[in-house]
């Protein structure tokens, strides 16, 4: 029905009437601007986690940080693909995809390939792959709605789904990012802030072991700024892991009752 007359007509989404370029959310050398959602610079969005979102999977989790909503399903450990050679240790296979309606303009969820490999790298250090030799654990993520800081949310949610599936890990993995906007560092940036950022820093860590599994920095940073940003992320990770842990405990206590 879409293909009326054979070809799909080209479409565009109507842009806002106010054609003047939108005023920057902050001004250069100004320290008193307000974030789009009214948070403090060093305040994260409220985080919501729930395990067991998908019954068909071995383990799964749903995460919601403001408008960022993701589901991660874990399948396995199961038979590796036929083409794989013999392996003494288990394999980790990841995939991140976006729904067509995740982004404000339809079908622009772009970084799928990059996110897939970054999710893999963030998790592989935390999983005890020797506990499932010859088999594969699949971690699939779907971003239902993109509201900024998508990858950190996917990574945290994936480690919760792995825990729900009973895959052995050294520790839960949490991920937090900060954006550098002018002179300020803002934690857990929303989509709008990410589009104006001068640089970003993302840390993925195992909070109880105080170990970092992944650190990415983009843009121009001074050493002092990097230190400040890392400390912000690590502090937020320590808080985030508490929320994730309580989510896992809730399920256990609920099933015991």
């Amino acid at each position: 029905m879409a293909g009326k007359g054979g070809t799909t007509p080209t479409t565009y989404s109507p842009s806002p009437t106010t054609q003047k370029t939108k005023a920057l959310i902050f001004k250069e050398n100004d320290v008193d601007w307000v974030r789009p959602d009214g948070r403090d610079f060093h305040q994260c969005r409220p985080a919501f986690f729930r395990t067991g979102a998908v019954n068909a999977a071995s383990g799964s989790a749903y995460a919601e940080f403001g408008n960022t909503k993701v589901i991660v399903s874990v399948f396995g450990p199961r038979e590796s693909k036929k083409a794989m050679v013999y392996s003494d240790i288990g394999r980790l296979n990841c995939n991140v995809s976006y729904t067509t309606f995740a982004t404000p303009v339809r079908g622009q969820g772009s970084d799928e390939k990059e996110f897939t490999s970054m999710l893999h790298k963030a998790l592989e250090g935390a999983i005890m792959v020797e506990t499932f030799p010859k088999t594969t654990v699949d971690v699939f993520a779907l971003v239902l709605e993109s509201g900024g800081s998508d990858l950190p949310v996917v990574i945290s949610c994936a480690s919760l789904a792995l825990a729900d599936a009973g895959i052995m890990m050294y520790d839960l993995v949490t991920s937090v990012s900060v954006s550098c906007l002018g002179k300020n560092l803002v934690i857990d940036p929303v989509l709008e802030e990410e589009s104006y950022q001068d640089g970003s820093l993302m840390i993925t860590c195992m909070p109880s072991r105080y170990e970092v599994t992944q650190l990415t920095v983009t843009g121009e940073w001074s050493t002092a700024k990097i230190n400040e940003g890392m400390q912000l992320c690590l502090d937020a990770s320590a808080k985030l892991v508490k929320i994730m842990r309580s989510c896992l405990k809730e399920v256990v206590t609920a099933s015991q009752d």
Binding site: M1, A2, K4, G5, T8, P9, T10, T11, Y12, S13, P14, S15, P16, T17, T18, A53, V54, N55, A56, A57, S60, N67, I71, V72, S73, F75, R78, N95, S97, T99, T100, F101, A102, T103, P104, R106, D138, F140, A141, L142, L144, E145, S146
Partner: protein
Amino acid sequence: MGLPNDSGDLSSQMDVDAFRRLFPLRFHERHIAESIRPDARPLGRARDTTIALGAVASANGSALAKIGSTAMLAAIKMEVMSPSKDSPDEGCIAIDFHMPPICSPIVRPGRPAEAAPVVSKQLSDTISSSGMIDLKELSLVSGKAAWMVYLDVYCLDADGALFDAALLSAVAALSHLHVPAVALNDDGKIVLMAEDDGQKLANAPVNKDKRKLTLRSIPYSLTCILHKNYILADPTAEEESIMETLVTVVLDSSSQLISLYKPGGPVLAYTSAIQDCVALTRQRVKELQAILDEANSGMEVD
């Protein structure tokens, strides 16, 4: 389990879960003979069904529908297109059904599920032939601009009766759709009107009184399994994999038949069985109507 133990039957010596995995057909047949299903439903009853509207903030209309543990998320994005020369006063609807790898162990990335294109085609056929939406309502400026409605349905959890859940989420999303107010600017492009813009705009909105679509005759469906002389309504994925003959009946709100699918299968259906399926669907339409009305009235209060 309280089932009678026939002599010489392995089930007396075996763990229930092991019996279920080794002899799935016998396991189910013994339940059906007692007019009950493994999840404690009578044969003709559908699973608990819920609808949540407005689940996706970035979409113009959206709905999350759950039938048992089968979950579908439908969302609508409106874009503008130039209508074709044959029908200058009509918009268009593009419906797509996706099964991402998260929804089921049988779907792997890069290898799309076989079921997805089938359900996708059934969905667009059903919605277009039900006459639920008047494409003329989607016109903005005759011959110049019209709405292109992208309706995407994502399967979040696959546990049988995928088409039923997908159709329910699709019609729920259409009932929740809020058409944005737009105006024609000087370049002949359609632009959004700011919601609470105090300043007077030079251009008047082109769709002042078309903010909600009129839905005529909403289609609802029920899938049944035919097995021997039994009819099982709303099958789970396990039941679908064991007993393969499916019949899907689609009726509209006034119980008129819109479509009927019986895609092969080892059981040949007598007309009486088809009639029974239609009767079950008729009951189900009433249930689904009540659930959708309740979801919509809940939205109006907010």
